[in-house]
């Protein structure tokens, strides 16, 4: 289990996260919803070690998790970043190999690659193409596949549905559910709140760096206050 306790992050004078506490129990899907600039990505980056805490602490199974980003990956926590961040000049296969950077055993890397090719057959067809030549949907698949290459226990997904066609959005959400059924713990950050809440065991609503509501996914989805907040968001 990952626990954020009273986490505060400041960028210069701006407070991006204000005293945020979140629990991500093993085997669950937890989502964070909220508007642009609410602090969703910052929350994920704090767990990944990309952003430093001004206050608070992060625990994994009760132990402090304040490490540089590359060491967080070794703990089995992998971020699938917003905007996919595919390396455009290296091939699809090389993107995947890089995803398995912490694995020394070549046979295991090969086996993992075969496994992600089963999940996303299109990537096998494209394996020798530069990552930059893939479509948006294919890049999102590659980003998830690359994240799975290191055998993570916990996936942190930042806006996986952003910019995808509706049928692809469904496909990605199905994939997330499937990965969770296979035992992965998932933290999902989404602007597509309805869909995220539908598949979540638990959810947090962030507004300008604070948690304004939290509860079971279905309850949050039905909460009139949250709905109102979301109507507000849709007007933006």
């Amino acid at each position: 289990m990952i626990e954020l306790i009273g986490c505060t992050v400041r960028y210069g004078g701006i407070t991006a996260l204000d005293n945020v506490s979140i629990k991500i129990p093993d085997g669950k899907i937890v989502s964070i919803v909220g508007a642009n600039g609410a602090g969703k990505t910052t929350t994920i980056n704090v767990i990944s070690g990309m952003v430093k805490l001004a206050k608070g602490s992060i625990l994994m199974d009760g132990e402090s998790l304040t490490l540089p980003p590359h060491r967080i990956v070794k703990k089995g926590i992998v971020q699938i970043p917003e905007g996919r961040k595919i390396f455009p000049t290296i091939t699809v296969a090389e993107n995947l190999i890089l995803g398995a950077f912490i694995i020394k055993d070549r046979e295991r890397i090969k086996a993992n690659m075969e496994r992600v090719f089963k999940l996303f057959p299109i990537l096998k067809e494209r394996m020798n193409q530069p990552g930059g030549t893939l479509s948006g949907g294919e890049q999102q698949m590659l980003a998830i596949a690359r994240g799975l290459m290191s055998d993570p226990k916990i996936l942190l997904l930042d806006e996986p549905s952003l910019g995808l066609a509706p049928n692809l959005v469904l496909e990605i959400f199905d994939m997330i559910k499937q990965l969770n059924r296979e035992g992965l713990t998932i933290l999902l950050v989404e602007q597509n709140a309805q869909k995220a809440l539908n598949i979540s065991d638990y959810a947090y609503v962030l507004e300008t760096g604070r948690i304004v509501s939290h509860g079971e996914g279905s309850k949050i989805a039905g909460d009139p206050v949250v709905k109102k907040a979301y109507l507000g968001i849709k007007e933006v």
Partner: protein, 292 residues
């Protein structure tokens, strides 16, 4: 006829050294996006290092070349740690990297000028016979060895960059230096490796230049040709830099034999300006977008 052949061989072997310089310069440009003039400091320090160890410790070519290569790599790592890492961790603008790299180059040059500047240092003669005779042709051993070494080193580097996980990480970091850490890559380490590899190239460059000419405090400024080759090759394309380096060396050498040593640089430099006006992306044809 055989004079032209010899000139071509000499030119190509000098071009091989330009190629080493171009790749050493290009490697750092690819990863950190600044023109690393401190590469000339590595070349100069290594040229002196190679001279001293081959003159006073082991008068053996292969051993001292290898030692100088590794030494150059270590100097590269030290320079990065001392003057580039601190500003990188503060997200300093690229201009600052450029300024630091030029300052380091000047500093090293001036330290050598003040301490060892009054003498020329000549490497020992490693070979009793300096030429091979092949029928009508006379081939300079030094030049053949230089070309062979450059080729081997570049093949070795190409293998690392293309086939190893570290190489993939270096190429990934050249398009995005932050994201590899999300894959468990220690970016600081990758930058160190890039400087080590570039430093190895700088070390070999220094040794080969020192051995061919003699060592003086300004030997590092000879990397200017390599920087030009990197730019003609299409900066960002290491292969383009190699081709441009060889072409530049061969062209220079042939021109010197035809129109003389004083006119050649004028023709070469004006051709480069014209070439880059017509084809600013260089010969590799990849348009490179500088982010800052």
């Amino acid at each position: 006829m055989h004079i032209i052949f010899q000139q071509l061989l000499n030119g190509l072997s000098l071009g091989g050294v330009y190629a080493l310089e171009a790749v050493g310069f290009g490697l750092i440009f690819n990863v950190l996006k600044f023109s690393n003039f401190s590469h000339s400091a590595i070349v100069a320090i290594s040229a002196y290092f190679g001279f001293f160890i081959s003159r006073y410790l082991f008068p053996n070519f292969a051993v001292t070349l290898l030692m100088t290569a590794i030494f150059g790599g270590l100097i590269g790592v030290v320079i990065e740690k001392l003057i580039f890492r601190p500003i990188r961790l503060k997200n300093a603008p690229l201009t600052l990297f450029l300024v630091n790299s030029i300052t380091a180059a000047m500093l090293v040059q001036q330290v050598f000028a003040a301490t060892l500047g009054s003498d020329y240092y000549t490497y020992p003669e490693f070979m009793k016979e300096t030429a091979w005779r092949l029928g009508a042709f006379t081939v300079s051993k030094t030049y053949v060895i230089m070309l062979t070494i450059s080729a081997l080193v570049l093949l070795f580097l190409s293998y690392i960059i293309r086939k190893t996980k570290i190489g993939i990480a270096i190429r990934a970091a050249s398009s995005d230096i932050r994201t590899p850490s999300l894959m468990g890559v220690n970016v600081d380490f990758i930058v160190s490796v890039a400087f080590f590899l570039a430093g190895i190239l700088g070390g070999i460059t220094g040794y080969l230049l020192g051995m061919t000419y003699s060592v003086d405090p300004f030997i590092g400024s000879m990397i200017l040709k390599g920087i030009i080759a990197a730019i003609i090759g299409g900066i960002g394309s290491l292969g383009g830099g190699v081709i441009a380096g060889l072409l530049l060396g061969a062209t220079e050498s042939l021109l010197i034999s035809q129109i003389g040593a004083s006119l050649t640089p004028i023709v070469v430099y004006s051709s480069i300006i014209i070439l880059l006006l017509i084809r600013p992306e260089g010969i590799s044809g990849k348009r490179f977008i500088v982010k800052a």
